[in-house]
């Protein structure tokens, strides 16, 4: 399948593919049984998905209360709380709302506390936790601390996955302190080395939509990812499903898909039409002076000093000029047929002889003397 941008009015029936993808993604979104942080991420994606995802976004709004309860009741400066807090800040911002006053400071304090830890597992060893924390900081306009940037860099060096890298790229891109690493993460996401990672097409499309498809990414890769993402089976991973829901909902208005065969047919027609138009214009350009010369033969001869041409002269010149027009048309026809890979056969040969001679003969005998 190959994407083709077209106007909605021309292809109503072809809009169903993004809708199907969106519905599939919505069905795979996290439920109440899933982690709060994943539900928050899904809510953020739906909040950024536009009006087509409004109902689904409203259904997920309850997670905001769950997150508030988790943060406000029994707060601890630990990884699970930092994880939820960071994502909650980002989600609330996506909902165009303001988080409670102290949340940003709370995240700052927690990040400082976690920075001092020397445990085997922590924020920087778990990429999706790292994403949430960075997202929370950058959403609040905070710079990403060095230890988190170092942790991110270490992750990229160790063996990143596309899905996590896409989220990191997006989170880092929100603040200039992370811009350089964000670009690096985007390169990872679109690199050929990771083309077979799970969810690669969704992650690429989502990242391109979130941060814009710059020169480093390449429009073609984005287009290919978009086409693959929208037609691939619905992902089992709830975060990839949320990403797909976001981008597919946004694409409902603009994206049309065609089967390749139909697209080829359309392309062939278009090519043919433009070729024929091209030859027609060229032929017309050559024929027009000749026809004008035939029409205004007496005047033309007058300009040349023969104010009283004989009837035979007129007939003869009209014959020649008409034959020339026929030859031009014949040559143009043969060329066009060749370019269109059409074999004109015997009919073409007959027509090639008839085209200059028949009109010329008629003009010879009928031209007014």
């Amino acid at each position: 399948m190959v994407p083709l941008i077209a106007r909605r009015a021309h292809a109503e029936h072809r809009l169903e593919a993004p809708l199907v993808a969106f519905r599939g993604a919505v069905a795979a979104l996290p439920t109440r049984d899933d982690a709060v942080v994943d539900r928050l991420f899904a809510l953020e994606c739906l909040a950024r998905a536009g009006r087509d995802a409004r109902d689904e976004r409203n259904q997920l709004l309850s997670v905001r209360r769950a997150a508030e309860d988790f943060i406000e009741d029994g707060w601890e400066a630990d990884v699970p709380h930092a994880n939820v807090l960071g994502q909650a800040l980002s989600t609330i911002a996506a909902l165009d709302d303001d988080p409670p006053m102290n949340w940003s400071e709370l995240l700052d304090e927690t990040v400082d506390a976690l920075a001092a830890r020397q445990t085997r597992h922590g924020v920087t060893t778990t990429p999706l936790v790292l994403v949430s924390v960075i997202r929370g900081l950058t959403t609040s306009g905070r710079a990403v601390p060095k230890w988190l940037l170092d942790g991110t860099r270490a992750y990229f060096e160790a063996g990143p996955t596309v899905a996590a890298s896409a989220e990191l790229a997006e989170a880092l891109n929100r603040h200039r302190s992370g811009a350089q690493l964000s670009a690096h993460a985007a390169e990872i996401v679109f690199s050929d080395r990771h083309r077979n990672d799970p969810g690669v097409s969704i992650a690429r499309w989502w990242l391109a939509e979130r941060i814009g498809s710059g020169a480093a990414i390449g429009a073609e890769k984005v287009a290919a990812a978009r086409a693959q993402a929208i037609t691939a089976p619905t992902p089992g991973n709830v975060r990839l499903a949320a990403m797909l829901a976001e981008v597919s909902a946004r694409a409902v208005e603009t994206l049309v898909l065609l089967p390749e065969s139909e697209l080829e047919l359309l392309r062939a027609r278009s090519r043919r039409r433009s070729l024929i138009e091209n030859y027609a214009w060229r032929t017309t350009a050559v024929m027009t002076p000749l026809i004008l010369a035939i029409i205004y033969l007496r005047t033309t001869l007058g300009w040349l000093g023969d104010h009283q041409p004989s009837a035979r002269t007129l007939s003869g010149l009209a014959f020649v000029l008409t034959a020339l027009v026929g030859v031009v048309v014949t040559i143009a026809g043969w060329h066009a047929a060749k370019r269109l890979e059409r074999d004109l056969g015997l009919f073409g040969v007959v027509m090639s002889i008839a085209m200059p001679l028949v009109p010329a003969a008629l003009v010879y005998f009928l031209y007014p003397g």
Partner: protein
């Protein structure tokens, strides 16, 4: 006179409500009793001769009560005090004025007197922690089980050899033991193996006596030079079983007449004896085990308890006072006798996701749905290289293991998809490494080879060693699995033993075994399958001290080895934090405990970058001033609340539900309060009651603890029963204690094979000992 009148309480057998315990309230007669007990001021000088004179209760009974500073004396049941005993300076006490601790002791001795004087019971070993075990030779379960074999062989099994049910007698006061109060008799049932035959006969039966623990067994009028010695005699290290053997005890070796010793036998040794005696290797073990299993049925044991209760009553205590035993105590909400049924605990929840808690009550289900706890972490080992070591005879078994690890095991309902898929490993490479021979030395050589780095510098992350179940019975120092494990663990490679007996089971049962193998292997790699979740906790360190009893032929005595394991509360989860201290013996336990606690606190605060807010110490033994002092020394004046908890897995108490004689072990999660610092907790599997141990764990909080929330301590202990990582089932004891015990056991087992005990500390962060 009523010593301690037992008030009438409704019983579970009548109402069906509550849970019953094997505690039988002692009922004193309601009329005035004129029996007296005597007391003398306690001094060591007075105590020793009197104790000698009492002859273990044969002459009279004696106990000391240090809080009151008195020695109490009273006559052997139904008799008078010896006429020649000078009691002119003694005070007299009516039973009703005695501290309940003394009454409890007197009741126990009265029951023992009755069993021994009138019912032909014999003592089994020493009194351990207030418990006297007695058996009689009338019912020989081994003889019953092996009767057909014996008949066929034309032999008889006499009462001197066999397996016998024993009654464990213990008493406990309800409430404060230093003041008058009610007491209860606790009866438990178990099995004892006896081989009361001369050592020479055992040696003639082909039993290797070196390393066999022995107890003293003097004949009347024995003059061997050790005739006063009782109890454990140590371990045989050599000599001639027909005349005299060398015995090592407490680091000292002595030569003893073999006639004055008798072996203390394990089940395996008993099996070996009968296999030789009856010349039947195929059936003896199976028949004996089947008989033992039948006795372990809780309903059977409860029936025995009831029969014993009825046969015992009335019991004469002191000279002529007759007491009876009430119906078993019922724990219900009313709290009769102070024994109160608490709200049950729901199954513990384990977390299967670091950073974003995903909680499940069933770890196996959680693993299928969510993957392992650390799957999102970059720090886990997710590219695994494994080797399977096998002798030629087990090649097909090794291949089956490889197939199971790589491709899984099919099943219509619950297929196992393979190690890599279930644990979301990125790569799994399993290589078969055959070796010649099959002796323990061949295993050791193969293990050494596998630890050597390949030309590219790589080594396996884990070695599966194929052995057979019968290897367990090999003499100490010749066990193939341990011989292979020692060099592998020394090389910091995980080792996992798998027996061919398991590998030859049909898929329907093998599928469960392979999942436990993969779980253990995953944990041994240093990864985390799942953890105990504790959302309401604080910066807390839980330290478990476990014990393993070993026989050390080289050192010559039975030794208690102590292992410690810690769990740090981190990010709302309890993570295994390893054992930073090497395994220590019991003698140095007191010295190292303070350092151990101190080291763990330092490590906790360094790693977590936060101050410790609570310390919980799970200890296998009764806590006392030594533990208290160790904790206080480690805390060094810091006001950190601490709890010293004795986790008693050997309590004789039972907790059962049901009516009359139709009982079943109480449901897992049942909690009974015996006192404000004393709880019974039913552990084990929540779903199956059939095979559950009717003995609950007994949790006793030291009175000097500064953190005293027993509900929290009980729930936390129960939580740790879900995280053994040896299998998905909840275990009887919490992993804190279990790990300490396993660590001590594995270290002591591996010592004979060149294992460096310091390695235990070096690799202590991985549960290599599972």
């Amino acid at each position: 006179m009523v010593a301690q009148p037992a008030t009438s309480h409704p019983t579970a057998s009548a109402t069906g409500a509550g849970l019953r315990l094997n505690m039988l309230p002692v009922v004193f007669p309601t009329e005035i009793q004129h029996d007296v007990a005597y007391s003398l001021p306690y001094t060591q000088e007075a105590w020793e001769p009197l104790r000698e004179r009492a002859r273990g209760g044969k002459e009279f009974h004696i106990t000391r009560h240090l809080p009151k500073g008195l020695i109490y004396l009273w006559p052997h049941s139904g008799e008078s005090m010896p006429d020649d005993l000078d009691l002119s300076k003694a005070s007299t006490h009516l039973a009703s004025t005695l501290p309940s601790g003394v009454v409890a002791y007197a009741v126990r001795e009265a029951v023992v007197d009755r069993l021994m004087d009138h019912m032909q019971f014999e003592r089994v070993g020493r009194t351990i922690e207030g418990q006297v075990r007695l058996f009689r030779r009338r019912r020989n379960l081994a003889a019953e089980a092996l009767a057909p074999l014996a008949t066929a062989a034309g032999k008889t099994i006499g009462p001197e050899t066999g397996m016998f049910p024993y009654i464990a007698v213990q008493t406990m006061p309800f409430g404060d033991r230093d003041h008058p109060g009610q007491v209860a008799l606790v009866l438990d049932v178990g099995l004892v193996n006896r081989l009361d035959v001369p050592l020479a006969q055992l040696a003639a039966a082909g039993i290797d006596l070196v390393g066999t623990p022995v107890v003293w067994s003097h004949a009347e009028e024995c003059r061997c030079g050790f005739e006063d010695a009782r109890g454990s005699a140590g371990t045989i290290t050599g000599g001639d079983a027909t005349t005299a053997v060398t015995v090592a005890v407490a680091g000292e070796t002595r030569t003893v007449r073999s006639g004055c010793l008798r072996p203390r036998v394990s089940g395996h040794e008993l099996d070996r004896y009968f296999e030789d005696y009856l010349n039947d290797d195929a059936n003896v073990e199976r028949l004996i085990r089947a008989k033992a299993a039948a006795l372990h049925d809780p309903a059977t044991q409860w029936k025995m308890l009831e029969e014993t209760r009825q046969k015992l009553s009335p019991i004469t205590i002191f000279s002529a006072t007759e007491i009876t035993l009430g119906e078993p105590v019922t724990a219900d909400a009313s709290g009769a006798y102070g024994v109160m049924l608490m709200p049950p605990l729901s199954p513990p929840e384990v977390n299967l996701s670091y950073g974003t808690p995903r909680l499940f009550q069933n770890a196996a289900v959680g693993l299928i749905k969510q993957g392992p706890y650390d799957k999102g972490s970059t720090r886990r080992l997710d590219k695994v290289s494994a080797a399977i070591l096998h002798p030629p005879a087990f090649k097909a078994d090794a291949q089956r293991l490889r197939r199971a690890l790589v491709n899984g095991v099919p099943d219509q309902r619950y297929p196992f998809p393979g190690w890599a898929e279930r644990y979301e490993l990125k790569e799994l490479d399993v290589e078969l490494r055959g070796f010649g021979g099959g002796a323990w030395t061949d295993y050791a050589a193969a293990a050494h080879d596998v630890t050597a780095a390949a030309p590219d510098g790589s080594r396996p992350d884990i070695c599966f060693v194929i052995t057979q179940r019968s290897d367990r019975n090999t003499p100490r120092g010749k066990n193939p699995y341990l011989a292979a494990k020692a060099p592998i663990v020394n090389a910091n490679i995980a080792a996992q033993g798998v027996t061919v007996d398991l590998l030859r089971e049909p898929d329907t049962s093998f599928i469960w075994a392979i999942q436990s193998i993969c779980l253990q292997a995953y944990a041994k790699l240093g990864n985390i399958p799942y953890v105990l979740h504790d959302p309401d906790g604080t910066a807390e360190l839980v330290l478990g001290i476990g014990r393993h009893d070993i026989h050390l032929p080289g050192l010559g005595f039975q030794k208690q080895m102590i292992g410690a394991a810690a769990a740090f509360r981190q990010d709302g989860d309890f993570l295994f934090a390893g054992s930073t201290a090497p395994v220590t013996d019991y003698e140095s336990y007191e010295d190292t405990l303070a350092k151990l606690i101190s080291d763990f606190i330092a490590r906790f605060e360094r790693e977590q970058a936060t101050e410790l807010k609570r310390l919980v110490l799970h200890v296998f033994k009764k806590t006392g001033w030594r533990e208290l002092e160790a904790v206080e020394r480690a805390l060094d004046g810091r006001e950190i609340p601490f709890a010293l908890v004795h986790i008693n897995r050997d309590t004789p108490l039972w907790l059962v539900s049901g009516w009359g004689l139709a009982v079943a072990p109480a449901p897992a999660g049942s909690v009974v309060s015996l006192a404000d610092n004393d709880r019974l907790l039913m552990t084990g599997e929540y779903v199956t009651a059939k095979r559950r141990n009717p003995h609950p764990l007994r949790l006793t909080l030291d009175r000097d603890s500064t953190f005293q929330d027993m509900s929290r301590i009980t729930a936390q202990t129960q939580g740790f029963t879900a995280t053994s990582w040896r299998g998905f089932k909840t275990t009887y004891e919490p992993s804190t204690i279990l790990y300490g015990r396993l660590l001590a056991e594995k270290v002591s087992d591996l010592l004979d094979y060149g294992f460096d005990p310091q390695r235990a500390a070096a690799i202590g962060d991985r549960p290599w000992f599972l």
